[in-house]
Symmetry: C2
Subunit: 422 residues, 2 copies
């Protein structure tokens, strides 16, 4: 009785169009494999939270329930708790923004805010312009809403303004409706690059001229290495930018609290989307985060995280230098990831099972494109493993890759990586 997959789905004729566009992300598919303890995972994006002051946080949780239990355990408002929305304004001031708390909408992680934004703008076939490559979780949402994603290249200074201009002009020529630009300007996931200060006003201006919204997704913004936060796109043009923020990387993901800031009319629709999908986000989660922001030196903790991640990044850079001299990679100045380009002929997606057999996991570049590109790239993350584990992971990867190169030399490149297939 409902206990097994029988192979037959009697409801197969009932699903919505949209259900057929939901797809398993390559990262999620990998999850079971890479959580085996003998595998070094350079695949995930889990922050390192064991350095948080756990004992103090435990005491705070107790005090929260003791002093505010009936409020913390009750329903809240669909837009999110007022005091936390105020504090989010303060967090964003580090990047030069000064949002009215009325325009902040709290969500179950910023992923959900991404879903709301996509929901309220995208009809099937509408175009979203996004960096090449782009965050896999965003591509999943965009696919679910049947958006047509058009990639625009980035370089070491982030999204290339001229390429954006040309892409938008080309799309206009063929009559395509572009709803928004999706960008991760800081410490890009998966690219590991950061949009330069010079380019920021240019990008915003190009979008404004083409009447295209900017969706700025910024979970890593405060995690630059030994650097002050960079002014957000939102700080330059709050009327044109929807900003997504998250506590998952600067604090911890387990409370699932993120937020969106949007111009008032859009914010109103986001609140309706939240009420419809959720009624209200978790009050316990919101109040715990609020307490963390008010009772702790949260920015000091961010600084500590910066140093810790910088050390791990350096361990990865050193290991790449030593073990994978045939590859090229981006040099992150913050965040969790570097983007590696492997020698021609190697297909990183096809290599992955052999890497896992070799007890190392990465994410194939194909996860980060809507159009099948990325077979010559991998995303390596240095956020979760300790430096010596990172080093060991890259060493194992080099063994796998050297074998792969021998195969390519013997039998020729994988047909999928030949230029005409790209």
């Amino acid at each position: 009785m409902g206990r097994q997959v029988t192979g037959m789905d009697q409801w197969a004729d009932m699903y919505s169009q949209r259900a057929t566009h939901l797809r398993e992300s390559e990262i999620r598919a990998l999850f079971a494999v890479v959580s085996r303890p003998e595998v070094v995972s350079l695949a995930g994006g889990m922050p390192n939270i064991k350095d948080l002051p756990i004992a103090r946080l435990a005491e705070s949780a107790k005090q929260l329930i003791l002093s505010h239990g009936p409020q913390a355990m009750q329903y809240g408002s669909g837009q999110g708790w007022g005091p936390l929305r105020e504090q989010i304004g303060n967090v964003m001031s580090y990047e030069g923004s000064n949002p009215n708390p009325d325009n902040v909408v709290i969500s179950t992680g910023s992923q959900q805010a991404l879903d709301y934004v996509t929901q309220i703008f995208i009809n099937p076939g509408d175009v979203i312009v996004a960096e090449a490559p782009s965050y896999v979780g965003a591509l999943g949402v965009f696919a679910a809403y049947q958006a047509d994603v058009v990639h625009v290249p980035l370089d070491e200074d982030g999204l290339i303004p001229q390429a954006l201009e040309e892409t938008l002009a080309d799309l206009k020529k063929v009559g395509k409706r572009v709803k928004f630009l999706y960008t991760v300007p800081n410490f890009h996931n998966p690219g590991g690059v950061t949009m330069s200060l010079e380019r920021r006003p240019q990008i915003v201006e190009i979008c404004r001229r083409h009447h295209v919204l900017v969706l700025e997704d910024n979970p890593y913004g405060l995690l630059g290495f030994h650097s002050e936060p960079i002014p957000s796109l939102h700080s330059l043009a709050p009327d044109t930018v929807i900003y997504l923020g998250s506590f998952s990387k600067m604090f911890a993901p387990g409370f699932r609290i993120g937020w969106a800031v949007a111009p008032p009319a859009i914010r109103q629709k986001l609140v309706l989307a939240s009420e419809s999908a959720l009624l209200s986000p978790s009050m316990v989660g919101q109040m715990a985060i609020s307490g963390y922001l008010s009772d702790y030196n949260w920015y000091g903790q961010v600084k500590a995280f910066q140093g810790m991640y910088e050390e791990r990044c350096q361990a990865m850079m050193d290991a790449l230098q030593e073990y994978l001299p045939d590859c090229t990679w981006t040099k992150p100045t913050g965040g969790f990831y570097t983007w590696v380009t492997v020698p021609e002929g190697i297909d990183t997606k096809e290599m992955l099972p052999r890497a896992v057999t070799g007890q190392v996991a990465y994410t194939s570049g194909t996860a980060f494109y809507a159009d099948g590109q990325g077979r010559q790239n991998i995303r390596l993350s240095y956020c979760y493993p300790e430096p010596d584990v990172i080093r060991e992971g890259v060493r194992r990867l080099s063994i796998v890759m050297n074998r792969e190169k021998e195969l390519v030399e013997l039998f020729g490149p994988s047909p999928k990586t030949s230029p005409e297939k790209k």
Copy 2:
């Protein structure tokens, strides 16, 4: 800079079709007004959680973070935490179900599971059959996905099988695609009635014959007054029923943890929907609920809640008897609500502002229909106010209603309540 609603929305041409179908629920619109302390609100569905063992729960929260902090504050799986899915199986066994934890999907409150189910089945124009009246939050989700809701009447024994049979046959005749029946079988919101034991297999059988899924929404199932739980529809036909459960009423809503149980193929799609919309539900919330289920006499607490809500229900029944003898109302055997029919000619939606002026709030019956019915009904909730406050609220309502009756006698009924407008 983005600080006020200017009246002009420069992005007004950009919204999706779906965004135009998001609507503010009548309950949410009321929220600001009814939270004024001088107003007695019989409008909301907030559970009374101040009777929970707050001090012990505070200590549990501390221990959770202390012992399992790095896990509780980390990302989890999109389907939800395994141990909690096991425990949910145990909770459901009280109603005769025996779900495989593999088929349980955890969500941010059962509202979100409702959204997932609607998302994976409903294309614009598809039909959902639902009780008349139905839960306002479900109607909001169905509207957002542009479903066509067809109401089927219920009586004191719940949804009427013959009416369901006729409705489904009629819809088939006109070529309409019915995807599922949405039902709240226990202590109906807002109807206050419960589907009889006799009708349950009939309802399931009718749906099976018409190849229509059953979406069983059961947040109040364990909150029957001095009664054993009633076998769920899911327990009768796990291959035909998607079950939605919630900890919000039997424990507390602030963690926002609910769940769905579905046949394997459907469950798979629900997991994809969860991963896309959310990545994963809150681990802190899931582990807190799990701890509550394992370390507390949770069913004893449910029993205590039953007695407390029964006393409040009785206070409302007595007050209605005393103050509103011209009305009729349902006699709940559990749950939070009674459904009141007011004398002909009174329009409960139009009366509401005058009720709030008279310092009492209710929810107009119109909130619970997709088709504008309900002007002669109100939902009164007895879950949150104390018995003497309930009594005072009904007394105030009687004053408002008596004035309204005088107006009707003087000027005739509101045009909207005349039969030809129904």
